[in-house]
Amino acid sequence: MILIKNAQIINSIDDKLEKADILIVDDRIERIGKDIEENPDKMTIIDASGKYVMPSFTDIHCHLREPGFEYKEDIKSGSRAALAGGFTTICCMPNTNPPVDNRAMVAYIKYRAKEVSPIEVLPVGAITKGLLGEELAEIGFMKQEGAIAISDDGKSVMNANIMRNALLYSKDFSIPVISHCEDTNLSEGGQINLGYVSTITGLRGIPREAESTIVARDILLAKETKAHLHITHVSTKESVRLIKMAKEWGVNVTADTCPHYISLTEDEVLGFNTNAKVNPPLRTQEDIEALIEGLKEGVIDCITTDHAPHHKDEKNVEFNLAASGTIGFETAFSVLFTYLVEKNGFDIGKIVELLNHNPRKIIGFYPYFVKEGEKANLVIVDLKKKWEVKEENIVSKSKNSVFLGKLLTSYVETVIYNGKILKKDGVLSC
């Protein structure tokens, strides 16, 4: 039994409870109420005075790098990093080696996760065989084996006919198609956003249309096919506008963006900082404002981390050779709180929706709630704590965080998953 004392509970914008105690028995929330009696012999007591309790988070876009790139991350280390950031469900992308483009690979990820992961790991299968964009992968078999979505993430499906067929075919299996939108003819050779910083550094730029033209194309394809299109890691104001229009049209489209796109601009690249090399690239303040507006209005449905671990040797190289991506699990909540709640007046309940309710709905899962009778999947956060992101405190195998050295407010202190305390007072217990 676990008793959380004096917690301020937040479930969503509309549904807030008063300060209360939470009694957890086995894997469920047994009771929520004032002054639940303590019994130190039979229960673990957590004093949450001054802290907030909310449902634990779900990330529908991350990279665990297993199999093939275990030196960057593996299912165990990635899950622990996710857990440290308050995530208890994560969906890993299929661009591994070999890629997750068949049912055996989906089964392998599920099996390994069951063996080594303290949290729930759900595989995303590939759209096309070998992620080559040429032939559809066996989407039905992968779904049957446990894939919750399909994506060729890391690459765009450049052939519009293949993408159209993927959307049509996905409907038979009620599986969302997660689209990495990038016209590779426009982005070829590009390293960073095409704009002010590319001009002053001489790094090759990627025009914003590399993203938005494919967003527009995929919206049109989804409109016609009536399939569920999910546009991932949206980074430009034009994409937000297109997605808004699509939703007004009634297209079955959802979208996410990542913590780094709503907080940092292309200026992070100045000084040739390879940790700021991400794909799509960091954009401008105008884009940040459009993305934040998109989150406010519900045009962008949820936040994903796009946790993309890379070894130090892959980042401490010439800029053009540096791998794209930043890790993101451990900083996600704090970045959202710092940049959305503190700087932009978001309600903290909105963050719960962005990190729990909406991503779970997108993959067809029931959201978590901190309510009586629900599974005990929750986090306790200190919203006042200020901390600096330092390499030595990162749980992930890789340390390539674009937030290194940044000061953030709020911290995920405790994580409970299925009634088990997996992180307490900042320390992992698994």
Binding site: T199, T201, G271, F272, N316, F319
Partner: protein, 305 residues
């Protein structure tokens, strides 16, 4: 000054210091022996990942005229071909007791990357599309020598601004001296936000009219295939410095080019031979400027090691 990575971060005072010193160095170049002891005992290495004749030779001569021990690493025959990483090359150069590394690379930021990871001095001899600081310094030196000033001038930079490290270094350097800078070239070769730093002319005539200095840039002919320009002939007609355009240029306007020149593409042979063309002079001045840079990068407060 430990490194010279670019002119964007270099102060106006440092630029003047380099130009003043280069003036002294030029007197050494004019002497019969062309030899000073300033870099005696220093090890200067040139590492060029791109082909270059004039910049590399200029640096090597500059170092040799100051008695340095110079070595040039040819990437084509080095361990790079065996897959050695740049980081490993840096560590090897450190172990070989390098004092100054002069590096050229096709990727922007490589000299900065090396400077972050080494103990020796790094001089940028051209990195990708970012900067070519010694070229801009020698341009500024040439302008100052000819016009007696590098302040409050009207300067046009013509050609491939997008890919040009020479253009960027010149813009950063010359902007520090209250000069009016105009750029012109095909729209495909004008980078975004350049208007924050320079006036973008709408025609070649407008770009060159009334200018004190015209810096013409080299065009890389392979750009033709990538859709930036259409043909050599069309480029010459609309963007080239030929006799027709000379009608808009006064006799005192300096005509500069970093070389090597594509004759009949960016500029005509006739224009190159005009008395106000400084193309060959720039090459000589390059040695003096590089001597000054090498000297300053190896000094601690002006005291010899």
């Amino acid at each position: 000054m430990k490194h010279l990575l670019g002119l964007r971060e270099l102060s106006k005072e440092d630029i003047i210091k380099i130009l003043n010193l280069a003036k002294d160095m030029k007197t050494i170049l004019k002497s019969e022996t062309k030899k000073t002891p300033h870099l005696q005992g220093y090890s200067v290495v040139t590492l060029f990942y791109e082909n270059s004749t004039r910049t590399r030779t200029s640096f090597e001569l500059a170092a040799k005229f100051m008695s340095a021990n110079t070595t040039s690493i040819s990437v084509q025959t080095s361990s790079v071909q065996k897959g050695e990483s740049l980081l490993d090359t840096i560590k090897t150069l450190e172990a070989l007791k390098t004092d100054v590394l002069i590096v050229r690379h096709s990727v922007s930021g490589v000299p900065h990357f090396i400077a972050k990871n080494c103990s020796f001095s790094v001089i940028n001899a051209g990195d990708g599309m970012n900067e070519h600081p010694t070229q801009a310094l020698l341009d500024m030196f040439t302008i100052r020598e000819r016009l007696r000033t590098i302040e409050k001038l009207k300067i046009a930079i013509i050609g491939d601004i997008l890919h040009s490290r020479v253009a960027r270094s010149n813009i950063w350097g010359l902007s520090k001296f209250d000069n009016q800078i105009t750029v012109f070239g095909p729209q495909t070769l004008i980078p975004p936000y350049i208007e924050n730093f320079a006036y973008v002319a709408s025609s070649l005539e407008e770009a060159v009219s009334g200018k004190d200095v015209i810096i013409d840039l080299r065009i890389q002919l392979e750009r033709q295939k990538r859709g930036f320009i259409t043909s050599k002939q069309e480029y010459y007609k609309f963007y080239g410095l030929n006799e027709d355009i000379m009608r808009y240029i006064s006799g005192s306007t300096l005509i500069m080019h970093p070389g090597p020149v594509n004759r009949g593409v960016e500029i005509s042979s006739e224009v190159m031979q005009l008395p106000n063309s400084t193309i060959e002079e720039q090459v000589t001045n390059g040695i003096a400027v590089r001597m000054a840079v090498l000297y300053l990068c190896t000094r601690k407060e002006g005291i010899y090691r």
